[in-house]
Symmetry: C2
Subunit: 312 residues, 2 copies
């Protein structure tokens, strides 16, 4: 299969009638894609994943890897109060691995389908190790910044964090105790519709890519407030006893997964105390206070030393 | 320097009052960037460069590499008849190489400055080899597709192609005969303003990233016509005798550089015969004919076997 045959097959994988196809003036196959002017501001995000750093081929299929990178990008758009519409994909793949390109593409397309988004362009090249960078474009009627948290806000999440890190720990130890944890590591199921509803009432918001406390710290710092996270409230979230049991089974600290594990892409937000956040698919885990000594405080447990993932 | 210090310094490098800063609602530092709604359609392009595949550290500085990847993206926006406004940069760099990140960032920022564009977001991670993916966003009042070439159009270029490939050949042979060729390989000077003017009259257009004949073939195929390229007209372009002399000096085929060498990012377009393309900074190298046996024909010379760069 030569390069133009590969590109034609990729274009077929991405060719679908998405929710926003009407806004697509020109898709894959030219120097760039062209979309219609929008009535609302645009949200733009980019995220990259590299073999050996962000994923391992022996742990995840290429379909899962494609879907996971797409999910991380879609999550970033929702975290800004946006709705993702279009994706651009730059991929580099070892020579001769054309089937692997198609698997990656299918994973991306299937995840994008979940929210009606569509891949409209990209770039393909060769490399020793697989590399994917996705850029997502969406629109927003009300951009939600990390800096919008207000004293008195309730801190909420769309669901329990930690499953992805738990799955990674299982894979690292060669264990299979929890299909749920492993599948959440391979490709987390994101609460896209909760995120969209939560954005209606949120004062500040982000997705948990680096760990719950690390993201709370980002919001606290950007807003010059302190997010007080209550471990007692976290322990009342659905699935908490399940993840605690898994932690004991494999002698791992489930609190480390929950507080510092990343890549779940649950949504963390602060909302006015009188907002009906529970109807918007979110659960209280704390409150926003005036800035104290740190931007995030943990009640009921000692603060872990490492609060998130750092690349450097 | 920790990750957040690195990110803050990168944000300072990219923080500048660009021509379109007024349209920036939220820049670097959140889950995504937010820009104002536009009156015109948007052009979106993405391009990736990987150490060892697209560039070598011993041949180019990181500043040049950053600028070159930015230029390739800006060129794609102009090739669509657009004006680039914003860039997103995903970069992966070996751990501990924070100075290298800043050099890359500075190269990108300086190239973007040439057209008033601005970096508004990105993603940073670690990797063994340097990887950069840039996504460019622009607007267009009149998208120019590859499929718009019409029989009777004149085929034009904004300047002589081949210098970049000539520079690569010099570096491969360890020669220094032409500073011009080497610098064009390291970081081509793109005729951005010619591209913007040419877009006003062009029926079809692309930038020469893969080689002149390969790009002509793309336009011919998309438009179902044949682009007849006249080598006699090419030999009348400015700098032709200079590149021919260089070819003889180092026993290389200058026609191979001109016809099949890539990465010059000159602009190739087809324009109505009665348009004042010369006032728009473009020079005739052929004509568009009804589709014959192939999508591109070369007059005055034998067609080379390889007409462009293929990754697979």
């Amino acid at each position: 299969m030569n390069e133009s045959e590969i590109l034609e097959r990729i274009a077929r994988i991405f060719a679908r009638d998405g929710r926003y196809t009407k806004d697509l003036i020109l898709g894959i196959g030219d120097d760039g894609a062209v979309i219609s002017a929008t009535d609302d501001p645009l949200v733009l995000t980019t995220d990259c994943a590299i073999e050996g750093i962000h994923f391992k081929r022996e742990w995840s299929s290429l379909r899962e890897i494609g879907a996971k990178v797409a999910a991380a990008n879609l999550a970033d758009v929702y975290a800004m109060g946006g709705v993702p519409k279009f994706l651009l994909v730059a991929a580099a793949i070892p020579k001769g691995a054309s089937n692997e390109i198609f698997e990656l593409a299918e994973g991306i397309a299937v995840e994008a389908d979940l929210v009606g988004a569509q891949v409209i362009g990209g770039d393909l090249s060769s490399s020793e190790k697989i590399m994917i960078t996705i850029t997502a474009v969406g629109t927003t009627t009300k951009p939600i910044k990390r800096s919008g948290a207000k004293v008195g806000d309730v801190v909420v999440v769309t669901g329990l964090t930690g499953w992805s890190k738990a799955g990674l720990n299982l894979l690292q130890k060669g264990l299979t105790n929890s299909d749920k944890a492993i599948s959440q590591f391979k490709k987390p199921n994101l609460p896209y519709s909760s995120a969209e509803k939560l954005a209606i009432v949120a004062n500040s918001m982000c997705d948990v890519s680096d760990g719950l406390l690390a993201e709370a710290n980002h919001i606290g710092k950007a807003s010059s407030v302190t997010l007080e996270i209550d471990s007692e409230l976290i322990s009342k979230l659905a699935e908490f006893s399940e993840i605690a049991t898994l932690g004991r089974e494999i002698s791992s600290d489930h609190w480390e997964w929950i507080l510092s594990g990343g890549e779940d892409h649950q949504f963390l937000a602060t909302v006015p105390a009188n907002s009906d956040y529970e109807k918007h698919g979110a659960f209280k885990i704390g409150t926003v206070k005036a800035h104290g000594k740190t931007y995030v405080e943990l009640v009921g447990r000692a603060m872990p030393n490492e609060v998130g993932f750092s690349h450097f």
